[in-house]
């Protein structure tokens, strides 16, 4: 009985150790990537066309509200990405899991792009709606701080040449900075603000009709799939570089080159 319990314990942790194995990650991510990419393209495509052409105009904002279908997914992803990085930071620090460090550092530029996109689309939406591109409002300011946190993480990762020190420093900054996420979330409730709440509606009108929020659901899910796909692409390259000396990486690189480089190689001889 003792041994069976032990085996069971071993079983339940096996996935966690696998997750930390670059080789296992490279294999599984290669199989996952096409599906994530297809899902992202379909969901974003359908959501954008639906939101731009078929959703009814807002009775107050007219057609400028259609920016919501890219603004909300970008802003949500910007925050989710940061939370994911903080979780990776904890996993990396506590369990010394290599793949968590890889995920943390590969996600930072994507998160920065999404934060910038949220801020820019918000500014473009703010001009016709509030009459101003930018206001020093709690929500906007805390999102700007998020962008600087991403810049800080990217700079820190690049500045420290020792891989373990860089991973540790980035993990600590990611964990400390996560305090900004609830501030962003509740900024519209704690401080008086121009930015509308999470109900999607500028006024106190009840929830938006389904033909307005369904396209948003599509683009939000699409953006998450997109994030998964581009994060895996970055992580896969990072794994190839980090594990360049491992036998399985040499094999994988040779296999990738087999399609592109070796015919030319053969012709030279």
């Amino acid at each position: 009985m003792n041994t069976s319990a032990k085996a069971k314990g071993g079983m339940s942790w096996a996935w966690f150790h696998k997750l930390g194995s670059p080789k296992w990650f490279y294999g599984i991510s290669g199989r996952l990537l096409p599906w994530l990419s297809i899902a992202a393209a379909l969901l974003i495509g359908i959501g954008v066309v639906w939101g731009l052409a078929f959703a009814p105009p807002d009775y107050q904002q007219g057609n400028s509200f259609r920016i919501i279908y890219i603004h909300v997914p970008a802003a949500m992803l910007a925050q989710s990405c940061y939370v994911m990085m903080a979780v990776c930071g904890v996993v990396g620090l506590v369990w010394k899991m290599k793949m968590a460090d890889v995920a943390l550092q590969c996600a930072a530029p994507i998160g920065a792009w999404m934060t910038a996109l949220g801020l820019v689309t918000g500014a473009i939406w703010g001009k016709p709606t509030w009459g101003s591109w930018w206001v020093w409002d709690a929500r906007l300011t805390s999102m700007l701080i998020l962008l600087f946190l991403y810049f800080g993480l990217i700079a820190l990762g690049n500045a420290i040449t020792n891989r373990d020190s860089a991973a540790k420093a980035c993990a600590v900054l990611a964990i400390v900075g996560v305090i900004n996420i609830p501030i962003i979330k509740y900024s519209v409730e704690w401080w008086s603000t121009l930015h509308q709440g999470a109900t999607f509606s500028l006024t106190e009108k009840p929830a938006m009709p389904a033909e307005m929020w369904l396209p948003l659901l599509f683009t939000v899910l699409g953006f998450y799939c997109f994030f998964g796909a581009v994060l895996l692409m970055r992580m896969r390259l990072d794994v190839l570089k980090r594990e360049a000396r491992a036998g399985w990486v040499k094999e994988a690189v040779a296999k990738h080159l087999g399609h592109t480089a070796s015919p030319r190689h053969g012709a030279e001889r």
Binding site: T121, W125, A261
Partner: protein, 58 residues
Amino acid sequence: MSFESFSDFLAMGKHGLYVWSAYGICFTVLAINVLAPVFARRRYLQQEARRLRRESIT
């Protein structure tokens, strides 16, 4: 379809410039995020191919 004609669709009420610039920027950012890792991977594999060729000669 919530628009009468294609020109109506392009005009977006009087918000055409705002809506289309926001979407244009969005798809540019998405494209950058796809192309950056694709090109980085290609560059790395070419670099590895050169290195392997050098090593096989020496």
